[in-house]
Amino acid sequence: MTYLHNIGAYFLMIVEMFRKPTKWTVMKQLILKDVDDLIIGSLGIVAFISFFVGGVVTIQTALNIDNPLIPKYLVGFATRQSIVLEFAPTFMSIIMAGKVGSFITSSIGTMRVTEQIDALEVMGINSLNYLVFPKFIALLLYPFVISIAMFLGILGGMAACVYGGFSTLEDYIVGIQTDFISFHVTYAFIKTFVFAFILATVPSFHGYYMKGGALEVGKASTTSFVWTSVLIILLNYLLTQMLLS
């Protein structure tokens, strides 16, 4: 029953988020602040993880291809497919659920505990629109982050491949161009938009409706990470089934 109640409350929250918009001059500032916190602030960790994971994917692929009949360029091909189809959109989103999701839940949760949300409501402000809508708009730039993750993942793979002596630069470049299907990129970005919506709303839900004190803010952040990750994995499966099979 609690799960059903929470699902209902989540959808009502989304409806309320779009009602009674906050004044545009204020909303503009909130959106810019959230772009800075959620998007710009994540670029460093995304770049770091993408580059090195790209390298690891390449090394592991190269080490597992020991048959001399398999061409060397397949290392680049496999790296590209892994990064574009799964690593960048899905696993980066799970990392972002930890970074961005926890930030959203704890910041909104702290506002709940310290009565700042009550203060907004008493003033006659739609607190859900004020708090959640700018995060949703800011995370529409999330595909930009994932594009960087794709690029750096492939670049990291190239660096590992060439400097690790697994294949030549030419082979790797041929590999990343082989059998390129542009719909795979479209599929990755469709997933990214869906995950961006989940990343903005699920952690906000857990922060907004939390009850208790500082300890509960921590618990809400953990619960929010778990549920955001679960939803990303489930939706990843459903979208892959619908779009690729």
Binding site: K20, T22, E115, Q116, E121, V122, M123, G124, N126
Partner: protein, 255 residues
């Protein structure tokens, strides 16, 4: 004026407010007092529309709150100023930005007009040089004064304060009490204060509503509270020896 009629509020099976009726007058500091757990905060949150209630009516200058549309409720709330127990200042904003916030949300004033108004209200609460400080850099008393400045910046018709003196030293508490009373007089606001600070009761309680176990057990003023023989009130208000002596002296002087 705020009129409350037969207000009932429960959480599950537990009835917190059991039919409260009273009025809060314009231009007066109206105090709600009572022991912890008597229903003061729930009553205040019902008045503010933060809690729904099962039965009864609350009307603001004749307009019954529960019958208003969502837009009308939001418009009414724009005329309400609230000082929360923990001040509830926005951590991500400076003190000046906190005070300017209601103006940005509800007025079409230019930036310079808003800045002038912020300067004026911050001066009014004796915080002329705190504009750029963050709330975390301000003391408890300063935070309360910023909360008052934010509550009055948009010329509210109704001011609500939840335990405005909690956690403050006696001197700062008196400064806050006097400030609230002066502002109430000056702008003819309907002020409702939730308190269990006896100094506030004696100093600024122009109207006092005493709650006990979710019921209104007594109502009067800081003058009539000395003379009342209502046992619940005397047990609560004159629980300390100091206040017992003060009461005795007051009665002797007036006989």
């Amino acid at each position: 004026m705020i009129e409350v009629n037969n207000l009932h509020k429960s959480f599950g099976d537990v009835e917190i407010l059991k039919g409260i009726s009273t009025t809060f007058d314009k231009g007066k500091t109206n105090l709600i007092i009572g022991q912890s757990g008597s229903g003061k905060t729930v009553f205040l949150k019902c008045l503010l529309g933060l809690f729904d209630y099962e039965e009864g009516t609350i009307s603001y200058d004749g307009k019954i709150f529960s019958l208003l549309s969502e837009d009308e409720k939001r418009n009414l709330r724009a005329k309400i100023g609230m000082v929360f127990q923990g001040s509830a200042l926005f951590d991500s904003m400076t003190i000046a930005q906190n005070v300017m916030f209601p103006l940005q949300m509800f007025t079409k004033q230019s930036k310079s007009e808003m800045e002038d108004r912020v300067d004026f209200v911050l001066k009014r609460v004796n915080l002329d040089d705190a504009h750029k400080k963050m709330p975390s850099e301000a003391s408890g008393g300063m935070q309360k004064r910023v909360a008052i400045a934010r509550a009055i910046v948009n010329n509210p018709m109704y001011l609500f304060c939840d335990e405005p003196n909690s956690g403050l030293d006696p001197k700062t508490a008196i400064v806050i009490d006097n400030l609230i009373q002066e502002i109430t007089d000056e702008y003819q606001i309907t002020t409702v204060i939730n308190s269990h600070d006896m100094n506030s009761v004696m100093e600024i309680g122009e109207k006092i509503v005493f709650l006990k176990n979710g019921l209104k057990a007594w109502e009067g003023s800081n003058e009539t509270i000395f003379k009342t023989d209502n046992e619940s009130v005397t047990d609560f208000v004159y629980s300390s020896n100091l206040f017992k002596k003060v009461r005795k002296m007051y009665i002797e002087e007036n006989e």
